[in-house]
Symmetry: C3
Subunit: 357 residues, 3 copies
């Protein structure tokens, strides 16, 4: 059985709830961090700061053996069944099988778009949206594969987001009550469903990948929330993702008027990404033109005043006073640092759950 975690909904909603609940218990030292005499391999085809260190520390805290490979452009794998006389020295099928012998879990970051925005030569949009690379790797791997950001999804960011939201839902009788009985967890997950959660496009000078916003939309949808996407026309993310969001969310709307979308929001997530059209045709505007065109999408304090005193989320890194004003980022309603910390706890909990399932 393939136990890979690539999109994030592979094992259903209850699995995700368990991952979040455990993460809360580990973070608050209610349950000791579980120990595993097992090994984790983290493969980075793209640079990383937060993901790299949060995964390494998460696994090491569980007593695991850890190796990070910054493959970047040093090495590329053949994915097709062709005579291998190109510049690719190894077939992904051999790499996946060998690495599975060394490591009990394998994290992979492989995105064409990180740092760029252009569809690579000889790739179709379908290849990219379908996360061909990580799926082929997972098919041949005999150890579970964790998606540390692919072209289409960044489920670790999704998990950290919903853990952060969950933490902010008040407990019925003080901080401790959520740990005293499991029912309180259930009650809070029920309350989660009533929340109005808005993902808003933010202006940027670069054309950023769609992986993170897709997971920022899908994860709260999986919790059964009322999810709203607000963005300029043409930035609606992939059909495949939106279908999944519709399937899980209590309600889902796309609203192109940002002010209207923010009305009554309980949680606001700001993020920038490139349009699927841009992704397809590769006609990317210059930095300054692109930024100028959508700069009125910047999230400001006055826009936050339209919400239901909403808490604010951003995945980081954030371009201060470009995507969002510093006043919003540094407000008491900002969850950004807590959410970044939670990356470590959800990843620890996910690895633990994959080993137990």
């Amino acid at each position: 059985m393939n136990k890979s975690f690539i999109i994030g909904d592979e094992f259903g909603v209850d699995f995700i709830k368990k991952v979040i609940s455990d993460a809360i218990l580990f973070k608050n030292d209610i349950i000791k961090i579980p120990k595993h005499d097992k090994s984790a391999l983290f493969l980075f085809f793209n640079k990383s700061l937060r993901t790299r260190m949060s995964f390494m520390f998460a696994a090491q805290q569980m007593g695991m053996q850890t190796v990070c490979e910054d493959i970047l452009n040093l090495y590329s794998f053949e994915m097709e069944n062709v005579p291998m006389n190109s510049d690719k020295p190894e077939h992904i099928k051999d790499a996946a099988r060998v690495m599975s012998r060394y490591a009990d879990v394998i994290g992979i970051r492989n995105s064409c778009f990180i740092g760029g925005g252009k569809l690579p030569k000889n790739s179709s949009v379908e290849d990219v949206i379908s996360d061909k690379f990580i799926n082929i790797f997972a098919k041949y791997a005999t150890s579970p594969v964790i998606n540390m950001e692919s072209d289409a999804y960044h489920p670790m960011q999704g998990l950290a987001l919903i853990m952060s939201i969950f933490e902010k839902i008040p407990t019925t009788s003080g901080f401790e009550s959520q740990f005293s009985e499991y029912n309180e967890f259930e009650r809070k997950f029920d309350e989660f469903k009533t929340k109005k959660i808005v993902l808003t496009y933010a202006p940027h000078t670069k054309h950023l990948p769609i992986a993170t916003p897709q997971s920022q939309l899908l994860a709260p949808a999986m919790m059964g929330s009322n999810v709203i996407l607000t963005c300029p026309k043409g930035f609606e993310l992939s059909d495949v993702c939106l279908e999944k969001v519709c399937k899980y969310a209590s309600s889902f709307k796309i609203i192109h008027n940002q002010d209207e979308a923010l009305q009554g929001a309980d949680f606001v997530i700001a993020k920038s990404w490139l349009s699927i059209d841009n992704l397809t045709n590769g006609n990317l505007e210059e930095s300054d033109i692109y930024y100028e065109k959508y700069k009125n999408w910047q999230l400001t304090e006055s826009k936050m005043n339209l919400t239901n005193n909403a808490l604010f989320s951003h995945c980081l890194p954030v371009r201060r006073d470009v995507e969002v004003t510093s006043s919003v980022l540094d407000s008491k309603n900002s969850m950004i640092i807590d959410e970044a910390e939670n990356r470590m706890w959800v990843q620890m909990s996910l690895i633990n759950s994959l080993f137990k399932s």
Copy 2:
């Protein structure tokens, strides 16, 4: 006493047998993995995927402290006793002595030829064949040095190969018998000597180093097998290596007719490498011309049919349907994934043995 492991025959045949036997016992959980509160440093002057992760996991599983340094081109060491006004910031004698203070064992990968094929400026073939760099390092180091691939040898690949062959030699009465008494190990080592083991040249688009094939020849020779090298004329590997092979093997032949060489083989190892002439004069043919010239050396199913139902070995990475057909690589007789896994076990066992000796 210098306890470095550079060629692979430094400590004799019995040492190697002990390394292999222990590796089998660790892998099969018959003996618990030994713990060492010691530190390992792995220095990579060339890129690595398999070697890096298999060494890191091996050492960490023994509870060791581990550091990998990807030196690549960032840093180079002076080897001569000259006023150091060139671009080399540090003398190898100082580096080796300092690193020995930090680390109880030091792995080094330093090969001029990985990724290239050309003799570096100001180097002679003798420098290269004699592994000048790693030998000078080991001379000054006070901790044992392990060769993770030099210009001339890749003894880790040699160890993994003979462990994999050993595993495939049937036990007298079922899987468990080999672990019940030490005599069974001796019996299998005796049977190993009767095997006919063929290393065959394989076509490639690149001019690859000779280190791996030299160790693929030397390691089974050290087990006392009947070793055959088959390759185009001019590809006979270095005299120094061939002399060692002659010294250890029950019998050794070079046969330039591949079909003839494969007759009755028990194990076939395929590998590509550049000729010593090419190494010397640096006149390397273009990829497509080079490949075309020797493409009939590709190992195919019909060639494997000439053997004694031989098991198949390749060190990986392999160019599928260039060096070897996928049908051979994916056949039930292929040991490639097991052998890659065994890299980790032999390296663990070697480090353990170096600490104990």
Copy 3:
């Protein structure tokens, strides 16, 4: 409270003495290496060999979780409060706060001058001498920050130097006495104050940073020694540093005549660095001209004969027979390898002290 260790005198002289004493006790296995179930992050904006491995091994020997990030040029952080539409993807304030959530201690190497010598665009000498980057990082970090070499200081080298000097001060009644009673430590620290310690400029082909010599001067000054700086005119290091040296040292002199300075020295430290003028105006001479101009500053055996049979220190890497003759480096009075080893012990002791304070 900010517990960062950037210049080296933040916690006073007694703190340093405790760090050195503990380091001696750990190294000699008189006190077991303390264990901390905590995490260390090491951020390298410049390449490193010794620092990287000595910190990683030090932390791992204490049972800590460790991650190294070789940021090099991959990533740069915004330090100003401006709209972030430049090429800097993240504000240092966010990075520092997030990393503090992952790591209990953060080592940072960030120097404009390593590998170069030129003041970067848009930076003033004041920015550089004041170590703007690491200080802003430490201001926002909630975990203690350790300076692994900044533009202005390299306090780890300072600590290793004074530990090495301390080791060479004879004990009253044999090796063991220093461990039997704490008073012996005090006595040796008192004797340290009587020593004459000379830092001499050494010729080089490159224009090297001032961080290391500044710490090589400051650290023995903090021990209350008689400190002498000898260098060509114009190479007197920064005023800020010299003021600190004056404040702590029993006596401090700058002597431009090297022979005169070396008379009666107990310890001689050789090091090369660029002049503050060069640092300011960026008019750096070519390698050969620069080297030729100051080559008579090379430390030789005959110069060492002017001293009080002085012990010799160099931080490494050293250009043999350029900065110092091999005869001095390899003499029985050379502490270079011991001092390099001591890097690991002082860093271990420092991390331990930061956790305890």
